[in-house]
């Protein structure tokens, strides 16, 4: 029989658990309403509960914005906007060539699509987040939204006082929410050091996160400097991993548990997907009881990569001959041409941003191959 003290301790513990669970279930609690002013457009990603992560690479900031976008059903959502870049230009009052779509992401709760867009160039450029809902484009206003911000540390400029604003800027190649942290891959426009940074979420002013250097084997040598182009979470057994794709095109698995502050991590190359190529975007999905990666590439089309062997596959450390591929098997989806961005919409569909032969860009829904 439990003593009264034990019961009290138990009650307190249970209360504590309940409170922490409530907090864990409400990531928006700490967000403050106000204006988010973006200086540049970078990758987007969704954290749970409809919280949109918006990166501002030039300002070295990541914003977490509560979209309040819970209505809608990803299972029934469809997107089909021809010449979306031209239509965005019309919406923003300018010419098509003045508009760049930097990233696209789907809100998994609603099936609505978010785009980060740049209008113009230089100091007069504007950064806009657009919402595609019911196949209509509109601005997702950041004028007064519940949000929090994390600032990525910038190295000091020893002569900034005299020189004015530093020319150094950050570029973010990809960003994702994994297991309570926001992971950010990027590199600077000056010193050449490719890092994967992780910031605990919800953001805390006392913890700006930590950076990790990720290396991967490449037939005897170690690739130390290539930036991660795109990455996704992948659970192997019970253990969360990052699957990261680099230019020319190794796919590397890294246990999330290894991504400790200041660590130098050796990732394992599980696939070589061919040269003269740059991975553009990827996500993981399940089909027929098996897991796959759908990956868009700059010159090797869209690949459906079978990850059945990812847990046990031998690391690729030798030179890859033939057509330059090895490791996990994949098929190239011939029907999907010109895909620049992709994100999963539901169990059986994805949304893609695709470039047509005439250079125009379409946003459309595809069936998962």
């Amino acid at each position: 029989m439990l003593s009264r003290n034990s019961l009290a301790v138990c009650a307190i513990l249970c209360l504590g658990l309940a409170v922490s669970r409530a907090q864990a279930n409400n990531l928006a609690t700490d967000l403050q309403k106000g204006a988010v002013e973006l200086t540049s457009a970078g990758p987007l990603a969704f954290a749970p509960e409809g919280i949109l992560l918006v990166s501002d690479p030039m300002a070295a900031k990541v914003y977490a914005v509560d979209t309040g976008d819970a209505a809608g059903n990803p299972e029934s959502a469809t997107v089909d906007i021809k010449d979306v870049r031209g239509k965005i230009a019309s919406l923003l009052g300018t010419e098509t060539q003045d508009v760049q779509v930097r990233d696209m992401t789907v809100n998994p709760r609603s099936g609505n699509v978010y785009l980060s867009v740049t209008r113009g160039a230089g100091p007069d450029a504007h950064t806009v987040i657009l919402l595609v809902k019911n196949n209509e484009l509109s601005e997702f206003s950041l004028d007064n939204v519940p949000h929090a911000v994390a600032t990525l540390p910038n190295p000091p400029d020893r002569n900034a006082q005299r020189r004015g604003r530093s020319l150094r800027a950050q570029t973010i190649t990809d960003m994702a929410y994994i297991e309570g942290r926001v992971y950010i891959a990027g590199l600077s426009n000056e010193e050449f050091a490719s890092k994967l940074r992780s910031i605990p979420f919800p953001f805390q002013s006392t913890d700006a996160g930590a950076s990790v250097e990720v290396f991967h084997g490449a037939h005897g040598g170690l690739e130390t400097h290539s930036p991660i182009m795109t990455f996704a979470e992948y659970t192997i057994g019970q253990e969360p991993h990052v699957l990261a794709a680099y230019t020319c095109t190794p796919l590397v698995k890294i246990p999330v548990a290894d991504l400790k502050p200041g660590a130098k991590v050796r990732g394992t190359t599980v696939a070589e997907l061919g040269n003269r190529n740059r991975p553009l975007d990827m996500f993981v999905y399940e089909q027929g009881g098996k897991n796959y990666i759908l990956m868009a590439n700059s010159s090797r089309g869209v690949m459906k990569i079978d990850t059945s062997e990812v847990a046990d596959i031998e690391a690729i450390t030798e030179r890859v001959f033939d057509n330059g591929t090895a490791g996990l098997s994949y098929e190239t989806i011939e029907d999907l041409q010109g895909i620049m961005q992709l994100d999963r919409l539901n169990e059986s569909q994805a949304v893609v941003l695709a470039q047509a032969d005439d250079g125009s860009e379409d946003l459309r829904t595809i069936e998962l191959p």
Binding site: A121, Q161, E191
Partner: protein, 410 residues
């Protein structure tokens, strides 16, 4: 097509009859439209016609419906949901004519001093055409002999900005004409902001026979611009620089010792105003042996300036270093650790760093502080060489983030 249009008179305020009120109410479903009287429409014909105008305002432009009867503008103002209602009958589009499949421009509607105005969300672009249409029949239903058309459509051209000098490539660094085989970066400086997003279309690396060197640059999707849009960092593919890596073994090195190359920047590249560059740019260079040696601050020559002068402190390196980082990562501290303010100048093909203080040097002890991330042309930093197996050679890593070079001013 008009340039900037102006209504002939100030907004109409005189007519207050129930006739227009009924029309207006019908537009918003508040009342049943009465049958319009031709006689009353004729009564309006002498008034200022309703028209569309593009009017400079607060440094930008506003589209204005002028000449509206005052009670119409009052009802608009007081009816609520102005943006939603007005979007139905008054829209602005890019181009001389609205295209059916293109959405109208974002913006807000206002009623001010009896006029309905559309304020674009983003500034209009100089030199572009914009079209505005107003379904007058939605607010002033047309009759057989009414003085206004059912629909007004106007096109406007936004005046071009004063055209300054054409944008040029101001400089390319490294400035030397002999570069190591494992050259890592180029910095392209432009005299004004240029268009971003498709920069690689305008860049070619060619060998002496003018053959393209295939895929020499790293394209990470996001281009490596500074905040002002005037400096682009161009990375050569490190996978083809570092020996033993797959891309280099399959595709070969980008640059080869003993050969000559030209980095060409196409004049078709548009600046932020949409104008092509004034002229193409060619950066010709020859290639020397790869550089695998880290920069060593203790091997640099430091020339201390005399006291009570503003003569520059000079640091002379034994190789060219990274132009951008030289401006950022080297500073001067006084005896008490305070930063000395001054102007940095990088000279002699990035082999010399000069620092001129804002106020004359005082006699005493100083130190130059150098971040160990400072790189040479091949990406070797003071911290570590570009090609290193970090797991096998962690012992060579420098534990500190800076190196201090003490000196005295006498």
């Amino acid at each position: 097509m008009a340039s900037i249009l102006h209504c002939s008179r100030s907004p109409r305020r005189a007519f207050t009859g129930g006739f227009f009120r009924r029309w207006w109410s019908a537009v918003f479903g508040a009342a049943v439209l009465g049958v319009a009287s031709a006689a009353m429409a004729h009564a309006e014909s002498g008034d200022t016609p309703v028209d569309l105008e593009l009017r400079p305002r607060d440094g930008g432009f506003t589209f204005v419906v002028c000449g509206l009867p005052s009670h119409v503008s009052e009802q608009l103002q007081n009816g609520g949901h102005l943006d939603e209602r007005c979007r139905e009958f008054f829209q602005i589009h890019v181009g001389k004519r609205p295209e059916a499949d293109r959405p109208p421009m974002l913006g807000r509607y206002h009623v001010q001093e009896g006029e309905l105005a559309f304020v674009p969300r983003y500034p209009l672009k100089a030199g572009l055409h914009y079209s505005a249409w107003l379904e007058l029949s939605r607010i002033l239903p047309a009759e057989n002999d009414s003085p206004w058309p059912a629909r007004l459509e106007r096109s406007f051209e936004v005046p071009s900005k004063e055209q300054g000098p054409r944008t040029t490539v101001a400089a390319v660094y490294p400035s030397a004409d002999v570069l190591p085989e494992n050259q890592l970066k180029f910095y392209l400086h432009f005299s004004a902001p240029v268009r971003t997003g498709d920069s690689f279309r305008y860049l070619q690396l060619r060998d002496a026979a003018r053959n393209d060197v295939g895929l020499p640059f790293v394209n990470v999707g996001q281009e490596l611009w500074d905040r002002e849009g005037t400096r682009l960092t161009l990375l050569l593919d490190p996978g083809r620089i570092k020996r033993g890596l797959k891309p280099r073994e399959e595709l070969g090195p980008i640059l080869e010792e003993g050969k000559s190359y030209v980095l060409e920047i196409d004049a078709a590249w548009r600046d932020a105003q949409g104008r092509p560059l004034a002229k193409p740019y060619r950066k010709a260079f020859s290639v020397a042996a790869p550089d695998d040696v880290q920069p060593d601050p203790h091997a640099w020559k430091l020339h201390a300036p005399p006291a009570e002068t503003r003569e520059p402190l000079r640091l002379v390196f034994n190789e060219s270093l990274d132009h951008a980082m030289l401006h950022r990562v080297i500073g001067v501290q006084g005896e008490n650790g305070d930063q000395v303010l001054g102007q940095v100048e990088v000279r002699e093909h990035e082999t010399e760093w000069r620092f001129q203080p804002e106020t004359p040097w005082k006699a005493g002890a100083y130190q130059v502080v150098v971040d160990v991330d400072l790189e040479d042309l091949a990406g070797n930093s003071i911290r570590r060489p570009f090609e290193v197996d970090i797991f096998e050679r962690v012992d060579v890593a420098i534990p500190h983030d800076t190196v201090a070079l003490p000196f005295r001013v006498e």
